[in-house]
Amino acid sequence: IEKKEVSDLASADLAKKRLVKDEKVNKLQDELNRAISENKKLTETLARVCESYNALHSYLEALQSRKSPEHDNFQKEHDKFASSSTGLGYGTTEIISDDKATVSTAYFPADKSDTSLSVRDGYQWRKYGQKITKDNPSPRAYFRCSFSPSCPVKKKVQRSAEDPSLFVAHYEGTHNHPGPHVGGSRTVKLDLVQGGLGPVEEKKERGTVQEVLMQQMASSLTNDPKFTAVLAAAISGRLIDQSRT
C-alpha cells in the first residue's frame, strides 16, 4: 500500500509538472503566433508605404525637373561637397571658399538608431527634403536656414559612410545673422553635451515631437498586443499633423 501511495504521488507530481510545461509552451506558441502575425502585417504595411513613397517621389521629381531646377542644382553642388576630401575629427569644421559659395563640412556624433538626421549646430533649420537612392542607401536630409529666404545658407546631413556613428553636415553659404548660440566653439560644445549623456538620456534631450512619436511607434510594436491599431493611429496622426502644417 505504501509503495502504491508513493507511486501515485510521483505520478501526480509528474502530471503537474507536465501541465505546467504544456501551459508554458502554449503561452510561447501564442506569443510566437502573435509576433508572426505582427511581422506579416508590418511587411505588408511597409510594402504599401514604399509603393506610395516611390510613386510620390517619382511624381515630385517630375514636377521639380519641370518647374524648379534649383533643387537639382543644389543636389549637384552637394554631391560635389560629399566627394571632396575632408579627414576631420569630431566637431571640427573645414571651410573651403570658391567663387560661388562658402562650403564647410562638420561632423557630429550620432546615435545609431537616430533616423532624424537632425544635428544641433546652433542654428535653426527647416527641413525641405530627404532621400535614399539605390546607389547611396544612406538617407540624406536637406535643410534651409530658418531665416530663408533672407539667409541663403543650406545644409545637407548624412550618416558618415566610413563611420556610422557620425553625421556629416555639408554647409553652403554664410549666415547673414547671428545664431542663437553665438560663439566660436558651437560644434565642440555640442560634442561635450552629447558625449556626457547616455543613449537614453540623449534621446530624451533631443525630444523633438518627431522623435517621441518614432519611439512611441517602435515601442508600441513590441509591447502592445494591438500594435497595428496603435501604429495606424500614430501614423495617421502624423499624416494629419503634417497636412495641417
Binding site: K21, K24, V25, L28, Q29, E31, L32, A35, I36, E38, N39, L42, T43, T45, L46, V49, C50, S52, Y53, L56, H57, Y59, L60, L63, S113, T115, S116, K127, Y128, G129, Q130, K131, I132, P139, Q210, M214, M217, A218, L221, T222, L231, I235, R238, L239, Q242, S243, T245
Partner: protein, 39 residues
C-alpha cells in the same frame, strides 16, 4: 528543447519586427517630407 526552440524563434521574429518597425518609421518620415514638399 521545445521551449528553447520556441524562445529562439520568438526572439528572432521579435528582432525582425523591430527592424521592420524602424524601416517603416523611416519610410513614413520620408513620405511625410515628400508630402510636405508637395503641399
Amino acid at each position: 528543447s521545445t521551449t528553447s526552440a520556441l524562445v529562439d524563434e520568438l526572439n528572432r521574429v521579435s528582432a525582425e519586427n523591430k527592424k521592420l518597425s524602424e524601416m517603416l518609421t523611416l519610410m513614413c518620415e520620408n513620405y511625410n517630407v515628400l508630402r510636405k514638399q508637395l503641399l
